[in-house]
């Protein structure tokens, strides 16, 4: 079994899904002969032909909207938006149609589509190539928003997303596309959507995160362990619908929670998690719920983006604050 990195795992899941279901098609800008600007769709054109691997014109609203049309007709389109910074023209089709088609027709028509987009900063890319706005999509009823943080979760979650009968926004943390390699059996096993993954058990503090920040968070947990602090690390993975239950149970045990995300703080997903804790978990809280996040600023261009990104140092500092909290 070969070891694969995250983007290769995405590719593997796409190939698997296309292999097992003729209705699965891939579309987007440069997904064909170029294999995607990050190579996520590489090889698919040769293997499945240009009928099923479609380079579209440069038009994101169209990509979302035509996927809806395809999905309603029984295909399972997996569309790529080249970078999350170019996903905004899709918002209209996603809010007004993808998320509503089943409900609007009381189940007559479904919308089994996946919209994939690489997201997140830290790779010194041009403007608009470093966005993290998952919270916008998490606010929209009827959508699922899924974010893998490792090769195996990328494989299992993407398969689940493609098989799911409803629309899924699948956001891929491109900073860690090639960070680690893992043995991922290509056996078609999907992972459950709608549940968090506990990556590390702990008793003193719960760290909640997703996407690329999982890595900094795990590093922070290691460093905390060296200081004798036992941190539980939860990868939310599916930010919509949110499995608040798992987080509540963890914080019931630890009494402390730090949420880490790259996105801007205000009205980010961290707020929702904190709000759930502040409602259903208040009595277990031994310290304030803190968020280590991007600032409420435009993500700076590459020369200054490191000022914006949450890092291990910031996570650790916040954890210490909570542990030291009266």
């Amino acid at each position: 079994m070969a070891e694969v990195n995250l983007v290769e795992a995405v590719n593997m899941a796409l190939a698997r899904a296309m292999e097992e279901d003729d209705n699965v098609v891939v579309l987007g800008e440069d997904v064909g002969v170029n294999g995607g600007v990050f190579r996520a769709t590489v090889g698919l054109l040769d293997r499945f032909g240009k009928e099923r691997v479609m380079d579209t014109p440069l038009a994101e609203s169209l990509i979302a909207g035509m996927s809806i049309g395809m999905a309603a007709m029984g295909l399972k389109p997996v569309a790529e938006i080249q970078f999350m910074g170019f996903i905004y023209p899709c918002v209209d089709q996603l809010v007004c149609h993808a998320s509503r088609l089943r409900n609007r027709t009381r189940g007559r028509l479904g919308c089994p589509m996946v919209l994939r987009a690489p997201f997140g900063g830290g790779i010194h890319a041009p403007e608009h190539h470093s966005e993290s706005t998952e919270a916008i999509f998490a606010h929209i009823p009827g959508l699922r928003v899924v974010i893998p943080s490792s090769p195996s979760r990328a494989y299992g979650l993407l398969l689940a997303a493609i098989r799911d009968p409803d629309p899924v926004i699948f956001l891929e943390p491109k900073r860690i596309y090639r960070l680690v390699r893992q043995e991922v059996p290509d056996d078609g096993t999907a992972l459950p959507l709608d549940v968090c993954f506990t990556l590390r058990e702990g008793t003193d503090l719960t760290l909640v995160t997703w996407g690329a920040m999982v890595h900094e968070t795990l590093q922070a947990a290691d460093a905390l362990a060296d200081q004798g602090i036992s941190a539980e690390v939860i990868d939310v993975a599916t930010v919509k619908p949110l499995d608040a239950e798992s987080i509540l149970i963890s914080v019931e045990k630890t009494g402390r929670c730090v949420i880490v995300h790259e996105a801007a703080r205000t009205a980010g997903m961290g707020a929702e998690i904190a709000a759930r804790l502040c409602d259903e978990g208040l009595l277990s809280l031994m310290a304030p719920v803190k968020r280590v996040t991007g600032f409420d600023t435009v993500m700076p261009l590459p020369r200054s983006e490191h000022y914006y990104m949450p890092n291990v140092k910031r996570i650790l500092k916040t954890c210490r604050e909570l542990v030291d909290y009266a």
Binding site: V25, E51, R52, M54, T56, P57, A59, S61, L62, A64, G65, M66, S67, I68, G69, M70, A71, A72, M73, G74, L75, P77, P89, D92, Q93, C96, H97, L101, R102, N103, R104, T105, R106, G107, R108, L109, G110, P141, G142, R144, D164, P165, D166, D194, P241, L242, D243, A244, E245
Partner: protein, 357 residues
């Protein structure tokens, strides 16, 4: 300077406002058998329309968008399509929807504000009414791409208004249809108004048909109040699409005789005179006159049709009014194929909060 590309828009009309042929009608469209079904459908739609407005005025229906004066387009389009073709409608295509098998009761339910009005018992793959202007164009080309991928002899027909032609989605869809050679027909019901904005302020293009050139295919303008012209253009466009010839844009020129919707008051922004003039071009008048000229229609037929339409509409109204509203949990039950665990609590909350206890 070298001329490297040339384009032209043709205009098609067979029946003038008085129902007199302006040119030879192709034999298969000239006969009463071809015209009568369209006329009957127009009459049914008009009856539905009047009843819907009456219901709205008396608080028994929600905001309603009348298709008064535009029925020829829907009738011709709907009847030109095959059953397994796919209609992707806007909100003003009642006649086409009826032709497709959407029931009167379903459309009453829809306009009452009830999701079940879009769970068509008839055409299973027809799209529900799209409210956000032109967004449905993208669905149409997506559906057409699915059909093409599967090699099926089906065609997708998208309907929209003149205002819709200003939207990016409309154009992005034209462009895709052109470059992928998709089996789709775009039918633009140019009723001269987008709420209060007249056609002349909507686009500087002389015709809306020429928008097709931007997508690299043919556009044609027809008299949208002449069901024969619409039917002729649709037959051609559908045949072309079905046989792999790609997309067509049909601009059907008509006039919105009513307010934009029951929430609108068109007298604020357009002259009564303009409306009066437009009434002379009413598609029902010319169609009846033409049928009469064929000796294929008379006062008795008209009376019987009136009676039938009235009865069908009345039955549908009664069935609609007798339909109890859905329970509160309905807003959860078709949201996803299966309700995510995260929402079970809210579903219970909604039931509880909306119970009398």
């Amino acid at each position: 300077m070298t001329r490297i590309a040339e384009f032209a828009v043709e205009y098609i009309q067979f029946l003038d406002p008085a129902g007199k042929p302006t040119q030879d009608i192709p034999p298969h469209l000239a006969e009463a058998e071809a015209i009568t079904p369209m006329y009957r459908l127009m009459a049914l739609t008009r009856t539905f329309d009047a009843k819907a407005i009456a219901l709205q005025r008396t608080g028994q229906l929600g905001t309603y968008a009348s298709s008064l004066g535009q029925e020829a387009i829907g009738a011709a389009v709907g009847l030109a399509m095959r059953q397994d073709d796919v209609l992707v409608p806007s909100y003003r295509e009642q006649a086409a929807q009826f032709a497709r098998g959407v029931t009167l009761e379903e459309l009453f339910l829809y306009w009452s504000g009830d999701e079940r009005g879009s769970r068509y018992s008839g055409p299973q793959f027809d799209f529900p009414i799209s409210i956000p202007i032109a967004t449905q164009s993208c669905h149409a080309v997506g559906a057409a791409a699915a059909i093409k991928l599967r090699g099926e002899p089906r065609v997708v027909v998208e309907g929209c208004g003149d205002g819709a032609t200003s939207k990016g989605d409309f154009y992005e869809s034209l462009n895709l249809a052109g470059v992928w050679h998709l089996p789709v027909v775009f039918v633009v019901s140019n009723n001269q108004w987008a709420i209060s904005v007249p056609r002349s302020r909507q686009s500087g293009a002389k015709t809306l048909a020429q928008k097709a050139f931007a997508g690299g295919f043919e556009g044609v303008q027809v008299d949208g109040n002449d069901p024969v012209a619409v039917r002729f253009a649709m037959d051609n466009a559908l045949e072309r699409a079905r046989s792999g010839g790609g997309p067509t844009l049909v601009e059907a020129v008509t006039y919105r005789l009513q307010d934009h919707t029951t929430a609108d008051d068109a007298s604020r922004y357009r002259d009564a005179e303009e409306v009066e003039t437009a009434k002379q071009s009413d598609p029902m008048i010319r169609t009846r006159r033409y049928l009469e000229s064929l000796q294929a229609w008379g006062d008795e037929d008209e009376a019987a049709l009136k009676e039938e339409c009235g009865r069908r509409v009345q039955e549908a109204v009664e069935a609609y009014l007798a339909t109890p509203p859905e329970p509160p949990e309905a807003m959860f039950d078709s949201l996803y194929a299966e309700l995510p665990g995260a929402l079970t609590g809210q579903r219970a909350e909604a039931i509880k909060e909306n119970s009398d206890g």
